[in-house]
Symmetry: C2
Subunit: 455 residues, 2 copies
């Protein structure tokens, strides 16, 4: 039976837990819980009332409970930690994987971190502090030091024996790392090669000295790109001297990949990335993540207002010009948003690099001309229909110019931002739209002024 639960299935399971709790049938409850997967257990815990939640959590076997805990939303981690005794918290922390522990500390307020650090063994505390020492969003922050390393002079049989001894504590046993005596990384070997090899063979005979590694200080986005590129399930992390510090695994990289994409989505709409999930965010934090850009864009919009004020006489002398304003400026904004989004995303995934800007620019000029021609023809016809052929000419020519220029701004701004070491994602749709509006009004009124002989 597949354990992916439907919302409906979850209700059934929830009622069953409540019923067993009411009957105080703890062996029955434990039996029922042991048939559930870790993420489902976490979901069910979060649906229970606080008192029932602690009761069920305490019932779980130690190694399960720390895994379930790592799946909770941070607000639930926080409340649960308040209900547990120091001794229970100590057991919980000791059983957590180091990378999950770092993630927990990242979510908690300073005082809570201090309390938890004091509950760790001296060894774990040192490890936790060192992992927390890496910059936010760096590879170091989500690596785990629980990996398996072997030496070149060992035999395959020795290595397998070592894996059997260390295996239960390790995040993965499928990627084995070969280091020298000072823990310098020499190679990686897949477990399948060891299993398929002669047990008497020396490890060094299996080495090909081709391996991929990450630096602990690199941006975590690099881990995503590298894992996508090399199709591996785990990557070793080294320091500047090539000393093996830990590993990052595909499950964590998949989460990072989604988080980074979400951040980029939010930036694309001029939203400062949230510190929590959208689901967990409160109204005030949503407000603060949005108001900054909204107010900043007012200044660009005032430039548009300035353009209108500058051409006030032109507009007053032919109020019918106002009719085509939304069409012209919106179309420019739309075309600019399209090209900016295409370029920002291609830069983010590494599909294109800064050095390729001329090739991209050339192609986008061609695209802009094609788009401009079609849109110019369509809006020119609308103009003829509404106000005669001279109006049609003004509208059509303006549209061509606006589309081509707005498209160019959309292409160039992300490259320029990258060039100056800024985040290309700043070239959001709202920013591009505001710039395109200002440009569009200027082009439209200039052409009208010139072609129609208006004041």
């Amino acid at each position: 039976m597949s354990a992916v639960s439907t919302p409906n299935g979850k209700e059934t399971e929830l009622n069953r837990i409540k019923e067993l709790l009411d009957r105080k049938d703890l062996p029955g409850l434990l039996d029922f819980l042991s048939g559930l997967s870790i993420p489902d257990l976490a979901d069910l815990l979060m649906l229970l009332a606080p008192s029932a939640r602690v009761a069920v959590f305490r019932l779980l076997p130690k190694e399960i409970s720390s895994e379930v805990f790592a799946y909770l939303e941070s607000s639930h981690m926080n409340t649960l930690l308040r209900d547990l005794t120091d001794q229970e918290t100590q057991h919980l922390l000791a059983n957590m994987r180091p990378d999950d522990r770092t993630a927990l500390f990242e979510e908690l307020p300073g005082r809570a971190i201090q309390r938890l650090l004091n509950l760790l063994s001296p060894e774990d505390r040192k490890e936790a502090l060192s992992l927390l020492g890496y910059p936010e969003e760096s590879v170091g922050r989500f690596m785990t030091p629980d990996y398996i390393a072997v030496r070149p002079h060992w035999t395959v049989a020795q290595a397998l024996e070592h894996i059997r001894a260390r295996g239960t504590d390790s995040e993965t046993i499928y990627n084995i790392y070969v280091t020298d005596d000072s823990w310098r990384l020499l190679d990686d070997i897949e477990l399948r090669r060891l299993i398929l090899a002669d047990p008497a063979e020396k490890i060094e005979r299996l080495m090909d000295h081709v391996f991929i590694s990450l630096n602990a200080l690199e941006d975590r986005e690099q881990a995503v790109r590298t894992m996508e590129r090399y199709d591996v399930f785990a990557l070793p992390v080294v320091d500047a001297e090539g000393i093996l510090l830990g590993i990052v695994t595909a499950d964590d990289v998949l989460d990072v990949s989604r988080e980074e994409a979400t951040e980029d989505f939010h930036k694309s709409a001029a939203v400062t990335p949230l510190r929590t999930s959208y689901h967990e965010a409160n109204a005030f934090s949503l407000f603060t993540s949005r108001i900054g850009w909204l107010v900043s864009l007012v200044f660009i919009n005032l430039l548009s207002s300035g353009v209108i004020a500058f051409f006030e006489k032109t507009l007053a002398s032919a109020i019918a010009l106002a009719f085509f304003m939304p069409l012209l400026i919106d179309s420019g904004g739309n075309a600019g948003s399209q090209s900016a989004t295409l370029v920002v995303r291609a830069l983010a995934t590494g599909e294109i690099r800064l050095s390729q800007w001329i090739k991209v620019l050339f192609r986008e000029i061609l695209v802009g001309v094609m788009l401009g021609m079609v849109m110019g023809l369509a809006s020119g016809l609308l103009g003829v229909f509404r106000g005669g052929y001279r109006v049609g000419l003004v509208v059509g020519v303006s549209m061509v110019a606006i589309i081509i220029l707005a498209n160019l701004v959309g292409v160039l701004l992300p490259f320029l931002l990258t060039r100056f070491k800024l985040d290309p994602a700043v070239a959001s749709s709202p920013l591009i739209t505001s710039i395109a509006d200002c440009m569009g009004l200027f082009i439209y009124f200039s052409i009208a002024h010139w072609l129609l002989g208006l004041p």
Copy 2:
């Protein structure tokens, strides 16, 4: 030495290959190539001239060359296939992994597929046709039938023996699947459990009957979400009867995750998702992916024009009203884009569900009111400064109303689209901006008409 190459490193390697080719030092070239990783080999191949490319490709050992081939961009696959003999193509295809083969067929024109299918062994052809039979973007399309299955009554030693025999052909040996004699999936077991278990133990004693599976007809997005949720490196794929058909692995899921995010990015800017990468797309395919939405949005923009025409007398009697038009309508569009993007992304990642729309709506009304108040106050002051307190009042009140309403449209549209089984990503920034502009103009002129007693 880490093999992640810098653009610079690539040039050195490229020159080395050319030099060895010129000297016809094939053993030296082969030796040099064997020190490179598969993705790097693919990159280098694509940088070589066509004749050198075929020469280097032919030199690669069979099992390497088919892996390298799978990494090429589709246009390069196509040209390389034209240069290879039928026999070489046959070897290449026979050595490719089934999921890579499906991906290749997806990229090729119909006639090329037919030629390749004829070169496959009858068995491989049947497999390829069955994989190609699953809907585009379904789980079936990127699964591989190369997995390891064991039976409940086998001993651990028998299972390990089977893994050693089948291991080299299998996509992963770390997730083992337990099936009954009719290939119905009963459980999954990690290789580490087999390695750490007593060899004489029966498989059925290790089974917990808790496993997660995917249906071959499900959207591939489901594979991403499930793997993110359950933190596994491989997932079994079954049909409606629970028969094991294949597996999907984390490396492919990571690629799908990125592709799906890219598609959603493009949709967010009203770009129809490209069939190739942005890097490979030509100007005409970029044009066709963008013109549809640009033209469609013209119709919504004409509604805005209609609003202006309707209020033409109001505008003509107080041309100064035009000054605040860009500020008011852009701010509405920006606020709407922000909320739409937040909701679309949260729906896409499964953070929120359709059923939670009331909770989200309530929170966003609160956010909209806060944003509206701040923006209304700021723009009201600008209005007072520009045209006296009555203009300030009109601008301020309009801004509050526009922000609150545009924000609501941004929240509700993605939910409505989802409700009617449409893709919420259709609620793109350009669409929301166009709707908000139309609404904004109507609100602004209505309030001006009413508060200023204009015609």
